[in-house]
């Protein structure tokens, strides 16, 4: 029997909440009775470095996503989306937040990061399923730019492309809604969800690699 676990790779920059996003998805998966694993690469990450975390759903034991293995790449930052290209394959769905956080190695030399368009072009060389969603706008609308990760989670949930039932994600997300910050998070999740379902509604949009939500 050939098995293939579902593999989601979340990438971003230290401080964006990549780990907690993926842990939250993992908890939702557990709650839904699925076999899940969450892998994380950190260490110096909170000092502004690249961060990645993986969510694997399905039978198995390892927590790795190696080259060409990601089913979904969730990129909270476009440069990091570009860095994750080797992990994509022609079937990978890539969801990108368009706001570039330009590394200091570039800003200090007066260089800018890549445009979101150029990142999409690069990603599209591997997969046509590229979706750019302005989740940071949703997060700001919800009340805090720091809720970007939760808004992105909402987008994923709205897109309904995860093996984890949206209801499970929602119920975990609702668990966030107790404090003031939690209410902002919940709102960001809902707004992201709406962006995701709108994008899903025009399902072919994602296939054609068009830019949505901008």
């Amino acid at each position: 029997m050939t098995t293939h676990a579902f593999k989601l790779l979340a990438v971003g920059v230290g401080g964006q909440g990549i780990l907690s996003t993926v842990r939250l998805l993992g908890a939702a998966g557990m709650a839904a009775g699925l076999e899940v694993r969450v892998g994380q690469d950190h260490g110096l990450a909170q000092r502004g470095g690249s961060v990645e975390a993986s969510l694997i759903v399905g039978p198995g034991a390892s927590g790795f996503i190696s080259r060409g293995e990601a089913d979904i790449v969730l990129a909270l930052e476009p440069l990091e989306a570009q860095r994750a290209i080797p992990r994509m394959n022609s079937e990978t769905t890539v969801v990108i937040e368009p706001t570039c956080i330009v590394p200091y190695s570039l800003t200090s030399r007066g260089l800018s990061g890549p445009s979101i368009e150029s990142v999409v072009v690069e990603v599209a060389k591997v997969t046509s399923r590229v979706l750019v969603v302005d989740a940071s706008a949703a997060a700001r609308e919800a009340g805090s730019a720091h809720s970007l990760n939760v808004a992105m989670l909402g987008v994923l949930s709205g897109l309904d492309i995860l093996p984890i039932p949206a209801a499970a994600i929602l119920s975990v997300a609702e668990g966030l809604g107790h404090s003031a910050l939690g209410r902002v998070n919940l709102r960001a999740f809902e707004l992201g969800c709406r962006l995701g379902s709108e994008a899903a509604a025009s399902a072919s949009c994602a296939r054609r690699g068009e830019v949505a939500g901008r």
Binding site: G26, S50, G60, T107
Partner: protein, 1147 residues
């Protein structure tokens, strides 16, 4: 998601998504652990953090021990006291604990002792990826290697049992992949805690040699017990017996299982999974492997299992073919991701496809981690680098501050391990004699820096030890250290390092707030200037921890941000000279910036406004960037200093000797002590350039533009204009009545001030660019202006004034000579009427009078007296020159007026400014003085030299053949272009009513060249660079005290002994040596702005700074308003954004 506490103490049977490290904690809890400790280190940190959180609920003691050695000893002691104990650390820490680790197996444990030591293949967060498994058989310590989080729980729980029954400590060695993977973990029952207490048993725990030999034999039995337990355990499995098999351990075992499943090969290839490394379940292996023909061994790092399996199989005569690293199928380094394993399966076992290569992918820009905005470590490194520059060597250590090794701080010439920062600095200092600094943090200091420091103190090494105390072990996620106690998430910063360091015996110890840059720099300066060990403790609590813990030591709730700073673009990127269009072409350089930053951080009072243009530049006729070349000299960048000088100055060798130095009279340093020796610095750079093998300065020469200019007069104005025009591509012909070029520099300035070779260098430099010189040509004689105008596009008249002003003195007596005539006579013609053996009186108070008097001494005069109308303070001559004349023996009668000649000499009378003139500032007209009755005296003299100024000789203008508009007897010129009333005739120098100094004449020549270029080529094609602006008539120095500098005496270059001078015309003033020049340049306060400075980016490197085009900006999202950058910005261009209130300093 509930709290970790609720989760890890939850009921048996529950499945939860658990981090491998948390699973280890749960495993230990299930085993009834009674004591936990450790030292934080990624990837093991969550184990200790877990116990830190859970220990109170469990009711067991926990500690972050001072270091791993002590942690292991504590855990062993707990075991001796009969409790099950666990100690956690990363692989590097285990090496530090090697001493106790190697003896514990001899003594044996009582309560089970489990050592968790996380491995880090691929060096994800470590300086090496050592394979600790080799320690197991070396030290007789069973070692278990969990594959997954569930396995981590099971293995840990079992490890206590194994330890207790074998009486050996047990190593649990998860790798990063297991530590940091979350997977469903099923909880078992929580076992009861037992503690027998310490039972005194004489000799039992004392590994004296005789005992140790007996203990060694006991180890054999213990290992046998361990082996039995392992054979009976669930630490291995096999998915079936086939001819082809994979044997894997640790994290790769899980990946192998998944990969075989993905390939659908789980039935054709057997998978042996091992969670134990030592001892191996040899019986099981031998029986299970009997039918295996080909075995691929998959383990990360060294071929540990592979080699042991080979030996085991050979010993028992099994013919299994073993594949792995020794056969080249797997690498010996790095973590095994699924791709590595797929490739090995394909190549070794011919299953599956080779991993597909994805297309060429250009990786995007790297995103290395950096110190956070407002990090006090950055300030500390910045201060150290500002003071010690690039000459010192910097040794770093393990912690957040390791990030200080990266540009732009670059505070890391070497890095080894915890505590080695001090030792490396000490060792290199002792062997090289260089200045060294060692850096480490508070937790590291107590961990292993303390004995390192003691070692330095003991050997009295000349170095600086810096302890960066941020009150928390920040790198690993904010654990407490001996410098800080965390109670209920609130940290109490103990500030106990200073006392500790003093108690260790260090004599020079200072604690500073690194974010107070002045204080920090001063501390580093004192450390630099002192022999022996200096210890600097930079104290400021990690601001990120303060925010995270929501608590500050003073109880106030900290804000993540105290404000945002912004860049004032009116100041940033502009120097004061650039507001005149004089921006230099130099790019910024770090050592230069370090120099100007140091002055800004240390010397200036931030409350006081600063001049945009340094007054020295504003007062200089050439607008030379003095602070620029001073900072270059101070930082040893002489070529750049030379460039700044020579871009604006055609005759530097002359000017650096004869300039009247208006710059020094307004130098800001004069408000502190004395002005900088500006001209001597210039002279040093010229001397340096002369000693270079290659020409150190090459100006840009434009291609010929086909136009030509005639210049009449080869004095400073004419030569400067010739040079400028030649560089712009003009054909230039210079004519002079003298045979040799130089004008007044040659004939009016004596050689002891301006040696002829120095002048010759200037002249040669100009002529070598292709300027044609014709000597012996006098306008009105064989040279006609009309002809010149026919042959050239423009003519510049720069032939000087020519005649001294006569002094009508009644009576007859000594011979009377004009100073110019006297000075221009060849010095070797001293015999005939030059004053040899005579008494000489010089009338006048200016430079010519001084030159004439000092020349007279050199020509053998018996006595020389200067009679000056002006009193001593108001004499127009250069003050140093007056002083030197006196030192050589010239008598100065200032405030006297010669009245008439008599046979034995000259009569003179004391004068004072007339009543009506006393309030007038500046120089008075000779008529403004009145004689004081009854003060007349006689000066004996045979020669009288008159040096009371010059006037334009009528014959000069008469010889032109055209009428030029004049004013006050001098040619009137346009102030911008130096154009006369004739459309193609320009004039500069003493012919005009402009600045009459040598430097002024050069500036005038430059300006005239600019005017000529504009006129001949038109505004579009002409050189776009503006000429030097005309200095404002009065620069008033701000006498407000705004400098915090210590007094530091002006340095003087060497000079001839006054007694030895008068025998010759040898140059009196020498040149600074390099050390003197750098030290003197270092006195410059750099009071003006600099347009090239990017210190914030080039030296400080706070990630909040960015470059937008060529503008420096601050990202308001990243800036937290710590205010440190504003303390050093040389242009004062950084300030709190106005919307925000003022920034208070943090405690």
């Amino acid at each position: 998601m509930g709290s970790r506490r609720d989760l890890l103490l939850d009921r048996p049977g529950r499945s939860a998504l658990l981090l491998g490290n948390d699973a280890i904690v749960r495993g230990a809890i299930e085993a009834g652990v009674g004591f936990a400790c450790g030292y934080p280190g990624t990837p093991s940190t969550e184990v200790t953090d877990g116990f830190a959180e859970l220990a109170p609920a469990l009711g067991i003691p926990f500690e972050y021990s001072v270091n791993e050695k002590i942690a292991l000893e504590m855990a062993f002691a707990a075991s001796l006291a009969g409790a099950r104990s666990i100690v956690a650390m990363k692989h590097l820490g285990l090496m530090y604990a090697g001493d106790p680790l190697s003896t514990i197996p001899y003594i044996g444990v009582e309560g089970g002792l489990v050592i968790v030591s996380a491995g880090d293949p691929s060096c994800l967060t470590s300086p090496n990826e050592q394979d600790q498994r080799h320690l197991a058989d070396m030290l007789h310590v069973p070692l278990l290697d969990p594959r997954t989080p569930q396995d981590a729980l099971d293995v840990t729980r079992f490890a206590f049992e194994l330890s207790e029954r074998s009486r050996l400590p047990v190593l649990v060695r998860p790798t990063t992949r297991v530590c940091h993977t979350m997977a469903p973990v099923r909880f078992g029952p929580i076992g009861a805690r037992r503690q027998t207490g310490f039972v005194r048993s004489p000799g039992r725990y004392i590994p004296m040699p005789a005992n140790a030999r007996r203990f060694r034999r006991e180890i054999i039995e213990r290992l046998a017990t361990a082996r039995e337990l392992i054979e009976e355990s669930a630490l291995f499995s096999c998915s079936g017996s086939r001819s082809t098999a994979v044997l894997a351990s640790g994290a790769p075992a899980a990946t192998c299982a998944d990969t075989l499943a993905e390939l659908g090969a789980e039935n054709e290839i057997a998978l042996f999974q091992l969670s134990t490394i030592y001892p191996l379940p040899e019986e099981w292996l031998l029986s299970s492997l009997r039918e295996v023909e080909t075995l691929l061994v998959v383990e990360e790092l060294s071929p540990y299992l592979e080699d042991r399996l080979r030996a085991l199989l050979a010993l028992h005569g099994l013919g299994t073919r073993v594949l792995g690293k020794r056969t080249g199928h797997l690498p010996e380094q790095g973590e095994y991701d699924p791709e590595v394993i797929r490739r090995a399966f394909h190549e070794a076992l011919q299953v599956g496809e080779p991993p597909a290569l994805t297309g060429d992918h250009q990786p995007p820009a790297e995103r290395p981690p950096s110190l956070c905005p407002s990090c006090p470590h950055r300030s500390a490194f910045f201060a150290a680098r500002t003071v010690f520059g690039d000459d010192a060597l910097y040794f770093n250590d393990i912690g957040c501050y390791t990030l200080g090794t990266a540009p732009p701080l670059k505070a890391g010439d070497a890095l080894l391990c915890m505590g080695a920062g001090f030792t490396l600095a000490a060792g290199v200092a002792r062997m090289t004699g260089k200045q060294t600094l060692g850096f480490l943090g508070d937790s590291t200091f107590f961990h292993s820096g303390m004995p390192a420091l003691l070692n330095v103190i003991k050997s009295d090494v000349d170095m600086v030890a810096v302890i960066m105390d941020n009150g928390i072990t920040a790198m690993t996620g904010f654990q407490e250290s001996p410098a800080a106690k965390i109670i209920d998430g609130r940290s109490e910063h103990l500030g106990n390092i200073e006392g500790t360091v003093r108690a260790l015996g260090a004599k020079h110890v200072e604690a500073v707030d690194p974010n107070d840059l002045e204080a920090a720099c001063r501390a580093f300066e004192r450390a630099r200037d002192r022999r022996g060990l200096s210890v600097i403790i930079t104290q400021r609590v990690c601001p990120v921890f303060e925010v995270r813990s929501h608590l500050r030591t003073d109880g106030a709730k900290p804000a993540a941000k105290v404000g945002t700073f912004e860049v004032d673009h009116a100041s940033c990127g502009h120097c004061g000279r650039s507001s005149h269009g004089l921006r230099c072409a130099q790019s910024s350089a770090e050592d230069f910036e370090r120099q100007i930053v140091r002055m800004r951080s240390l010397e200036s009072d931030r409350e006081q406004a600063r001049p945009a243009v340094a007054p020295c530049a504003e007062k200089c006729p050439l607008y030379l960037c003095v602070q620029g070349y001073a900072a270059h000299i101070a930082s040893g960048r002489y070529a750049e200093a030379l460039e700044l000088i020579m871009d604006a100055l055609a005759l530097p060798d002359s000017v650096c000797r004869v300039c009247d130095k208006p710059c020094e009279s307004v130098c800001e340093r004069g408000t502190v002590d004395q002005p900088i020796a500006i001209n001597d610095l210039k002279k040093f750079v010229l001397q340096w350039a002369r000693e270079c093998d290659e020409p150190a300065y090459r100006p840009e020469l434009e291609p010929g533009n086909g136009k030509s200019v005639a210049i009449v007069g080869a004095g400073p104005a004419g030569l400067a204009a010739a040079y400028e025009l030649r560089l712009r591509g003009y054909e230039v012909r210079v004519f002079d009545a003298n045979e040799a070029p130089g004008g007044m520099l040659l004939t009016g300035i004596p050689a002891y001030r301006l040696p002829r070779e120095a002048l010759q260098r200037d002249v040669a430099r100009i002529l070598d660019h292709g300027v044609h010189f014709e000597g012996g040509r006098r306008l009105g004689g064989d040279l006609q202006l009309e002809t010149l105008l026919e042959e050239h596009g423009a003519v510049l008249l720069a032939m000087g004034g020519g005649r001294g002003v006569e002094l009508p003195l009644a009576g007859e007596g000594p011979r009377v000579l004009d100073a110019l005539d006297y000075l221009s006579a060849q010095p070797d013609s001293s015999s005939a009427g030059q004053g040899s053996g005579e008494r000489v009186v010089v009338i006048g108070g200016g430079n010519s009078a001084i030159d004439a008097s000092r020349s007279a001494l050199r020509r053998g005069a018996k006595k020389v007296v200067i009679v000056s109308l002006e009193d001593r303070e108001h004499m127009p001559a250069i003050p140093e020159e007056i002083l030197e004349a006196e030192r050589e023996g010239v008598v100065i009668r200032a405030g006297w007026k010669a009245t008439d000649l008599i046979e034995e000499g000259v009569r003179h009378v004391r004068v004072q400014p007339a009543e009506s003139s006393r309030a007038v500032a500046g120089r008075l007209h000779p008529d403004a003085y009145e004689a004081i009755p009854g003060t007349q005296e006689i000066l004996g003299a045979e020669l009288l030299i008159v040096a009371i100024g010059q006037r334009l000789d009528d014959s000069v203008l008469g010889g032109l053949g055209i009428d030029l508009e004049c004013e006050g007897g001098l040619v009137r010129v346009d102030t911008e272009t130096h154009l006369t009333s004739h459309p193609r005739v320009f004039a500069a120098g003493d012919l005009t009513a402009r600045d009459r100094t040598v430097t002024g004449a050069i500036a005038a020549g430059r300006r005239a060249a600019w005017g000529i270029d504009r006129t001949l080529r038109g505004n579009e094609l002409a050189d776009r660079r503006p000429p030097p602006p005309i200095p404002p008539p009065f620069v008033t120095r701000n006498e407000n005290k705004r400098w915090r500098s210590h007094q530091e005496e002006r340095r003087h270059p060497p000079e001839l002994d006054p007694a030895a001078r008068t025998g010759s015309f040898d140059e009196v003033v020498g040149t600074f040596d390099e050390e003197g020049a750098r030290a003197e340049a270092n006195r410059c306060l750099f009071c003006g702005q600099c347009g090239n400075c990017r210190s914030c980016l080039d030296l400080f490197g706070c990630p909040a700074f960015l470059l937008d085009g060529d503008r420096v900006e601050i990202d308001p999202d990243l800036c937290v308003g710590c205010d440190v950058c504003a303390q050093f910005c040389p242009n004062g261009a950084l300030a709190a954004a106005p919307a925000l209130s003022s920034i208070g300093s943090l405690p």
